[in-house]
């Protein structure tokens, strides 16, 4: 990974903001301050236009027609796979489009889960999103396998002792998040992947929160599978990616059956299509796929390293100003070890009420358990407020967030 900054474009947040039409919106008469980027990111005009263009000019099903429109649609849809492949350093055949991270993780869990036996173990962590917990709970239950958890240390990072004790020769699958969507912790997944592979386990990465904001290279990480969502990286909803190593995908059975994923169907048996189509049954989300490709072009035009740097500055700033707000408790590691997520609580005020009051100031944050209820129980809370940043956010917006927290005190008379 090169640390030198790519001089693609000098990072000018004001000009970037102009690319996102929604940022012109006013909420309760105030300019929108969108700090809910971990839930979903806003879309630049180029992505919106690409999808309209598809419907306006070349809407057709893919892989099913020899007419001009179908040819154009197929080309654009396949090209999007190529763009994703290049973006994460995989190959075209290794990129499966799904509806999102959740479906990607379910796909692996069901397909790999078939081979689990009683006594086998699956290892995940205490900081997973529900989408990387529940599928494993279900397949483990069905197969009599055990689900084990890597614990979290005081500092909000994974506990190394726990990593070494939980991953053993019995472990068949290790699946964990690259970046926590609550604590922001950037996990040492490359090192954990090594431990997994030393024990002959399959290594799966939930990269929903990392791919939008840092260089993710599947070869460097040596991930067997890696999942992420288009909508968190400035692309549309309804599209996501499952990367899988070619040799594993070749041997793996499909998850969904139907059209497009077959080469030949006889009355009683079928032969599967080539990769990646073997795993994309039915008419796919064509315009979302195309939109995701354009979102990647957009990220590339700014430079992922520049995005990472900008968000790191925002995060450092947020940690600094929020720490100074009285009655606020911040969860997770120091600014150096986290990506652009800051979850916090206000003493004696529920996260939901904080979010309602911030909303009145035009500030959109998430409040709740962030689809990580087991993690909430580890932190001994039921909910938290979460501010998360993206390329178009500014330090001024974070200052507004901090200032608006004073209103919470006023309203609750604290």
């Amino acid at each position: 990974m090169s640390k030198t900054k790519l001089a693609l474009k000098t990072f000018d947040v004001e000009s970037i903001r102009k690319d996102f039409p929604i940022l012109k919106r006013r909420i309760f008469g105030k300019p929108l301050v969108y700090l809910d980027n971990s839930a979903t990111a806003q879309k630049p005009q180029v992505v919106i236009d690409a999808m309209t263009d598809y419907y306006t000019n070349y809407n057709a099903n893919v892989h099913r027609g020899i007419h001009k429109l179908s040819e154009e649609a197929t080309h654009a849809y396949e090209e999007a796979h190529e763009k994703v492949a290049k973006f994460i350093n995989g190959s075209f055949e290794e990129i499966i489009f799904t509806k999102g991270t959740t479906e990607s993780l379910n796909l692996v869990a069901y397909s790999l889960g078939k081979a689990l036996k009683p006594g086998d173990e699956v290892v995940i962590t205490e900081m997973e999103h529900h989408s990387n917990i529940v599928p494993w709970q279900q397949v483990c239950k069905e197969k009599g396998a055990a689900l084990k958890f890597i614990g979290i240390a005081e500092d909000g990072k994974l506990d190394w002792n726990s990593i070494n004790s939980q991953i053993t020769k019995k472990t068949k699958i290790v699946s964990l998040t690259h970046v926590s969507n609550v604590l922001g912790t950037i996990n040492p997944i490359k090192e954990i992947g090594k431990v997994a592979h030393e024990n002959n386990a399959i290594f799966i990465v939930d990269a929903a929160q990392s791919v939008p904001r840092m260089r993710v290279d599947v070869k460097d990480l040596d991930a067997d599978f890696l999942a992420f969502s288009g909508h968190k990286m400035y692309g549309p909803t309804g599209i996501g990616v499952l990367y899988g190593k070619k040799n594993i995908l070749q041997d793996m059975s499909p998850f969904l059956y139907g059209g497009d994923m077959i080469k030949e169907v006889k009355f009683h048996e079928s032969r599967w299509n080539d990769l990646p189509w073997k795993f994309e049954a039915g008419t796919p989300n064509i315009e979302q796929g195309i939109g995701l490709g354009v979102a990647i072009d957009y990220i590339n035009s700014i430079g992922i390293e520049n995005i990472e740097e900008h968000e790191r500055e925002l995060t450092k700033h947020a940690m600094k100003v929020l720490e100074e707000v009285p009655l606020v408790t911040i969860y997770g590691p120091d600014a150096e070890s986290r990506s652009s997520v800051v979850a916090f609580n206000f003493d004696n005020v529920h996260a939901h009420d904080v979010a309602t009051i911030l909303d009145r100031e035009g500030i959109a944050v998430r409040a709740g358990h962030h689809c990580a209820m087991p993690l909430m129980s580890v932190l001994n809370i039921i909910a938290s407020v979460r501010a998360s940043f993206a390329i178009y956010n500014t330090k001024e917006e974070i200052d507004k967030l901090a200032a608006s927290l004073a209103t919470v005190r006023k309203v609750f008379k604290l």
Binding site: F28, G29, H350, H369, I382
Partner: protein
Amino acid sequence: MTEFKQPTVEEDVAGLDMIYREHILDHYKNPRNHGNIEHPDISFHDNNPLCGDEIKIEVKLDAQTHISDVKFTGRGCAISQCAASMLTEELKDKTLEEAKKITNQDIIGMLAIPISPVRMKCAILSLKVLEAGIYEYENKQKLQKVRITDS
């Protein structure tokens, strides 16, 4: 074509700062009937998956029909906790039949603040818990009757 229209400031602001009114904060900070009942007849707990609000309601009955005591515990936002506190006040000295007649709209009426669709779940959580608790209790009673008549 349904085109998005930016709401005017007036539309947005209408009924706005009316949420955290004095009585809401009062019930939130000094919840009534907060705590547990020993050997309750009805006890039910549920949570709101959206934001993690939790409510447990316990009820003591006289002669199986009359609410003699009710208490709640819980964690959550001002709206959910306040609604629970107000609901328990409302329940004192009611019969189960009367309690079953309380509606979502009654809760909104008690809160007397504008409730947005998202906050609706918070507002009615305690009523849902109560309803589920009564349902469970009545089913148990029915089963017992069946057992008694069987033997």
